[in-house]
């Protein structure tokens, strides 16, 4: 035992010595952003998912990092571990004198409102919430139902079993808006084709459906998806952040089941499941964060809500990638047509969770 410990110490020491053998740099260049130096400080507070949630916190944080890299602004961030951290995190962040503070998620609305009222001279922005009406708070919201409508249409057209499914992580507006659009897209396909493709997991009229209860437990996503597959579903859209990985596992086990990813293009963010992704419903949170930081730095901040739509590219569906050859051209054309109609306002997708 002693010998083992001694050799472990020796090996560690040797490793450290080798690792530390590089020569010192000649001069110490000032650390920090590579872009032009800027005094602008952009701050961000996550909700309890943290910045590594592979979902909207992460997308928001990527926008913040992009602003650091491309605009040379200084950034500070704090992660919340649960709801009781929101207000203290926002308060502590204000000691840094942030020029713009971005809070991620509607859960932070009350805390953001309180801090914005207390600090009327600094700017705030909040993602996925449109309830705060203050001159120094800019809501960043997304009409995700526009894009998931297209995904619903595609799912219905692609399905051979005539059953598609969706489920959410938690029953919150930013999740159910995906499911509302999906259901309406399937209904549109049924109306156009005279078929009766069925949607499992969400009833738009009663606003009731399947939820795993959190955005963490992948096994629940796997079980839920397995149940859907046993009920005949061959396209599943999980709206549950990392829980969607569980859905992909279940689809992989079953074979012949396609997944529609959400928030980002799953083909790029979850490459291990590339063969499963029919498409993804994308929400460009990172871009909206970047744009808001840029506008604030330029002095053109306004509290007008940013609403991401199909028309302005704030939401959209990802390329079909590996499924490109499996989708008939007339379906692709129809989806392009629908996309144009929604963007122009000719076709309206309505969800109770739409940003007002």
């Amino acid at each position: 035992m002693k010998k083992l410990a001694a050799s472990a110490v020796l090996i560690t020491a040797a490793a450290l010595a080798l690792a530390g053998c590089a020569s010192a740099p000649q001069s110490n260049p000032s650390t920090g952003a590579t872009g032009s130096a800027s005094n602008f400080l952009a701050c961000m507070i996550s909700d309890q998912g943290g910045f590594d949630d592979k979902s909207f916190n992460q997308s928001g944080f990527e926008g913040l990092v992009k602003a650091q890299d491309e605009l040379g602004v200084t950034i500070k961030s704090a992660e919340s571990q649960n709801a009781s951290d929101f207000a203290p995190n926002l308060e502590s962040m204000q000691t840094n004198n942030c020029d713009l503070t971005i809070t991620v998620g509607f859960m932070l609305a009350e805390a953001t409102k309180a801090q914005a009222t207390a600090n009327p001279d600094t700017h705030f922005a909040i993602i996925d919430d449109n309830s705060i009406e203050l001159p120094n708070v800019k809501p960043l919201v997304f009409k995700t139902s526009d894009a998931s409508f297209l995904a619903g249409y595609l799912a219905a057209a692609y399905s051979t079993t005539g059953v598609v499914a969706t489920f959410g992580g938690m029953q919150i507006p930013s999740v159910t808006i995906f499911m509302d659009g999906f259901v309406d897209g399937v209904a549109q396909y049924n109306a156009d084709s005279g078929k009766t493709v069925q949607v499992l997991g969400w009833d738009k009229a009663t606003q009731k459906g399947s939820f795993t209860g959190d955005f963490e437990d992948q096994s629940k996503g796997q079980i839920t998806t397995k149940n859907f597959i046993e009920a005949g579903a061959d396209v599943v859209m999980p709206v549950a952040g990392p829980v969607g990985n569980g859905a992909a596992m279940a689809a992989q086990d079953a074979g012949n089941v396609a997944i529609i990813w959400v928030d980002a293009d799953g083909f790029e963010t979850a490459p291990q499941y590339q063969d499963l992704f029919l498409t993804s419903v994308m929400k460009e949170i990172g871009q909206s964060v970047f744009d808001t930081i840029k506008a604030t730095e330029d002095g053109t901040y306004s509290n007008t809500p940013y609403v991401g739509t199909l028309a302005n590219g704030g939401v959209g569906i990802a390329p079909y990638h590996n499924f490109d050859s499996k989708i008939p051209q007339e379906v692709k054309d129809k989806i392009n047509q629908l996309q144009a109609d929604i963007a122009s306002g000719k076709l309206k997708v309505v969800s109770p969770s739409d940003p007002q």
Partner: protein, 414 residues
Amino acid sequence: MSDTTQEQSTPRPTWRVMLRSAATSSYLTSFLAIVVALLIGAILIGAADAQVQQTAAYLFAQPSDFFGAVGHAVGGAYSSLFQGAVVNVSTANNAADVIAPITKTIAYSVPLIFAGLALGIGFRAGMFNIGAQGQIILGAVLCGYVGFSWHLPIVIHVIVCLIGAFVGGALWGFIPGILKAKTGANEVIVTIMLNSIAVFLLGWLLTLQAFRKPTSNAPISPTMDPSAQFPHFFGTPIDLGFVLAILAAVGVWWLMERSTLGFRIRAVGENPDAARTAGMNVSMTYVWVMILSGGLAGLAATSQLLSSASQQLNANIASTFGFDAITVALLGRSKPVGTVLAGLLFGGLRAGGYLMQSVTGTPIDIILVVQSVIVLLIAAPPLVRALFRLPDPERRRRATSRAHARSTREEVTA
């Protein structure tokens, strides 16, 4: 129970043993555990720092850079931790700003003290109540519902909310208590399961119209009535909740050290079989322990709901207090004074953690590591003794009694 006899014949290191060793560890052990935890935290802070990683590459060419970077990272992080938790000396504008951090620490300690006291009672009775989380949630449900839907006069509203919180938690504690008393069901498993049930129960309740803010589609309740609020002291974050927590600590001390029930609880905790032989009703003691424990844990919810304006019931209302409280109770050796001090320490780590994360960008997980290492060391006093080459108090006691026996024997022979 069939395994009781087995336990007696071969004393395996079970959680019961762990609880006892935690409860009998000395204050010195607790203090050293905290020191070791902070040291390990310092190593991690250094390792996670970008500047340290950069300078480590040429450690031998220019060691001063490396050690400077380590000092900067660790010093910066712990200095902001201290300034966020105790006194703010760098950015304060007036006297109120200077002491603001300590008032926050006190405010954050309240739910931990309540829940820590709750678990402490269970530990003293030899029951590992893991269910504080669920008990807090049930307390929050009742307290919250009363708070936003009943419109009562000031003072009375707070009292009714407090009763609601206690009843909610006590109910959730009663279930594992009665199951253990009547069927011998293991309270660890039952309370863990009840935690999950409470989480989903709350999630479901928040989908109902009765629990939801009328204008919103989000799972958040209406805000609490202004009448259902603790009065604050001198405009600080410290409110009536802290006074109640201290009163609860005094109450628990009286219960455990002075009352008949407390004596029974301690006797059952030391040795249930002996207590039964002595004519005590062990089953009923289990039930009472869980009711009291659950009720106190339920009161932890009041510090979330009644502490300030704009408080709402949400799915995350219990935070992780129920689990942090296990650590608090262990560190406080299940005694009221120790629990209050441990609650203050953890409240301080939380208050300071916010500032540390915001100012120096140190990952908040460091705080969790520090807390976890404290628990690990508290639960294993021999480890701390080995680290600091402290004598084993048990062995010394045995040695002195042997020496005493020898000397008396010598006296007799002489």
